[in-house]
Amino acid sequence: MKRTNSMKITVRLFGRYKDIAGKEKIHLDITDGNTLRDVVDVFVRQYPMVAIDKSRMMITKNKMYASFETTITEEDEITLSPPVVSGG
């Protein structure tokens, strides 16, 4: 079930996301929901240049890989990185 009260989430960015945002750490207001998908939605809305990665973004919660459905709280340490690359 989605939570309706808002959260302020601190997100650490890696790779080109850092360059796009112009900083290493951003704060996102999550007004609807409490999952990493909600965080990614807000991130993409704020920085449309990352939309191409949206479904494949690498996300960690408290230093562990996490899926889009993972629930979060304001205290969690979230990172967003470009997708794992597979070319050789």
């Binding site: 890696f14 850092k18 360059d19 990172t79 794992v84 597979s86 050789g88």
Partner: protein, 242 residues
């Protein structure tokens, strides 16, 4: 051992003569001889890994030449693995370089990597990396993942059961190998150099740490600190192999 060949390398405090002698006893298996694998093999041969096998069933294509330093136009149509052997063995006759013109599959991977001290990822697809990951855990053999896309490269040394495995970071990753992946020509050599550094460190007993992300265009060099996933279907507790 020729003192001169590795003299400047043995002056490196972290390696020394002892480390150099240790490298000479090691066996590295490079899977894939494209942009990453051929460049990594080149460096590892020069740095003195005692035995290096390079496995690939592909042939050299003109579209490979912009991102490799081993192949030339004369090699087009020939086996990548055998050309790497032919070109690199004369570089250092103190090591043994073996090219294996074979496709790595779930049927033969055990016999190909069983005696490896480390596996070097020179592949271009996720399924093969997951297979390497599986045998790495099975035989407790470290491996060093590397991948490139456009102007972005990633490297991660993996010590089975000690550091996150490949599955720990790729549960939702799509395989793009069916598409022609864009790659800046200089990127694979850069990423292969980082991969070779991680390989040497692993072989000398240093524990790798995190996923290295290098974005050439945006000048970002980061290490993502990531822990093992206890619920990982491959290295987590639920897998009976563990």
């Amino acid at each position: 051992m020729s003192i001169d060949r590795y003299r400047r390398q043995t002056l490196v405090e972290e390696l020394g003569q002892k480390g150099q002698e240790l490298l000479a006893k090691k066996h590295a298996i490079v899977i894939g001889a494209g942009g990453l694998g051929s460049n990594s093999a080149n460096l590892l041969v020069r740095m003195g890994i005692g035995n290096i096998d390079i496995i690939d069933d592909d042939i050299v294509d003109i579209t490979n030449l912009h991102r490799t330093s081993v192949f030339s136009e004369h090699d087009i149509g020939k086996s990548k693995a055998l050309i790497v052997q032919e070109k690199l063995q004369p570089v250092n006759t103190m090591v043994h370089v073996k090219g294996i013109n074979q496709k790595v599959t779930s049927e033969n991977i055990d016999s190909l990597v069983r005696h490896a001290d480390v596996i070097i990822d020179g592949t271009d697809n996720i399924p093969l990396r997951l297979l390497i990951n599986k045998v790495s855990i099975q035989y407790k053999t470290p491996w060093v993942y590397a991948g490139v896309y456009g102007t972005v490269g990633m490297v991660m040394g993996i010590l089975p059961k000690k550091t996150p495995c490949f599955q720990c970071i790729t549960q939702d990753t799509l395989d793009l190998s069916a598409h022609e992946i864009p790659v800046l020509g200089s990127l694979p050599a850069t990423i292969a150099a980082i991969q070779s550094n991680e390989t040497i460190k692993v072989l000398l007993g240093r524990q790798p740490s995190g996923l290295i992300i290098y974005d050439v265009w945006n000048q970002c060099f980061d290490t993502l600190d990531i822990k093992r996933n206890p619920n990982c279907p491959m290295c987590g507790k639920k897998n009976k192999m563990n």
